[in-house]
Symmetry: C2
């Protein structure tokens, strides 16, 4: 795929797009998604893995709530990856990821993921380039394993916000009582590494491309939700799933 330059991609919806109309389309797809998820579960042949990556305050939590929160929670699992524990660090970096790979019939969301091992770790030089490149190869192999050996559909989303939008959202966390719990003064420090993060993300998009990335303009939540919903909807729809027939004898 051609190299992705994040600076050249807008973080906003095109002006021509109507917010109201788009929200209506999102809702329509979401209600069909509920059926598609049921079908995924019933057919029990495929699974869906959704990887959400993005800078702090890029809207990962909101995407999970507004898109996947509308589905039957029995068929959706969410795993948020934080700083690895001591036990996790005593294994290869994909060990804690593989254990949460979705079984057939299920939708698994990763809020952050194995990609942190080639992003934050590189920005802070905890991981050298040779190791990072080996990890990229291992990530491609791993995603291939899930896709090829368990019919896992993998959707990788980068929530693309502008640094200005991020700063506004981080500041809101200091003033909005409902958001203060999310405030972490380290986030402001981390935001200073913006350009390094963008470089690392761009390399990750081009190298970890066995499964392609989707760049989601995310300054406006309604547009972000629309694009994610649309991609999930189209992916499940494209599986041409069928409800199993009644077992005639057993």
């Amino acid at each position: 795929m051609p190299a992705i330059k994040l600076k050249e991609i807008s973080t906003r919806a095109p002006e021509s797009i109507s917010k109201e109309k788009t929200k209506g389309e999102t809702d329509a797809m979401l209600s069909e998604l509920d059926d598609l998820q049921n079908l995924l579960y019933a057919e029990n042949r495929h699974s869906l893995l959704v990887v959400l990556q993005g800078m702090d305050a890029s809207g990962k939590d909101g995407a999970i709530r507004e898109v996947f929160g509308k589905l039957n929670p029995q068929g959706v699992m969410v795993k948020s990856y934080k700083v690895p524990t001591e036990e996790e660090l005593s294994h290869d970096f994909l060990w804690r990821i593989h254990s949460h790979a979705p079984p057939k019939g299920m939708i698994q969301i990763f809020n952050r993921s194995h990609y942190e091992d080639i992003l934050v770790t590189r920005v802070h030089k905890w991981c050298d380039n040779a190791t990072a490149h080996n990890r990229m190869d291992a990530i491609n192999d791993f995603e291939k394993l899930l896709a090829l050996h368990n019919n896992t559909q993998i959707l990788k989303f980068y929530l693309h916000v502008s640094p200005e939008e991020q700063m506004e959202r981080l500041k809101e966390r200091t003033s909005n009582p409902k958001k203060m719990w999310k405030y972490n003064e380290k986030d402001i420090e981390e935001a200073k590494y913006w350009d390094e993060y963008m470089n690392m993300y761009e390399e990750c998009f081009s190298k970890c491309d066995y499964i392609p990335w989707h760049i989601i303009p995310s300054d406006q939540n309604w547009y972000k939700e629309y694009l994610i919903t649309k991609k999930v909807y189209e992916t499940l729809k494209g599986l041409n799933m069928k409800y199993p027939k009644l077992k005639s004898d057993r």
Copy 2:
């Protein structure tokens, strides 16, 4: 590596080798192994994965008892892989394997392994050739992940018995009260597929070669135990491990 032809490899020790002397050497290595394992645990930088494969009654259980049973059980974990459960089958074939990969400092034994997914499954045509070859690629990628990303030393042993020795051992299970619990009439049926198994093993040795296989002549337990002990001993010795120094301040 050159193709392995199992028929051309003896299942017995060379005549020139003394049983008594060899047993003495095994014991000497085993007592050093105890120290090496302690060092592996203390240093906490490497891990060891031992994969045991072989036909029924080839002596896998005995190898575990006589070699690894001599070590501190706190540092050794054994996982026996049986027919996959329904939950395991809802994941890719390496999911149940990866979760038991050894953390740093530990020795993990696999009594049967992911290799069953390209052996018994192929012999009985539950898995087509294309799938089997994809699995072989996935196995190489997976073993590379463990080796490269967690310093895991992987030793893969094929316990090589003759069909005559196997049949004798299977029959002993019908008469020796201490072994009757192991008797399974299906084993006799399975033994009829001997040549197919040998073909599948040979292909597996040549294709799954990111980590090389060790063919262990296993008609005589003392020789089998000697060879496995020696390989494990040399592998751990070769790591040049050191006890960590006292932490001077914290």
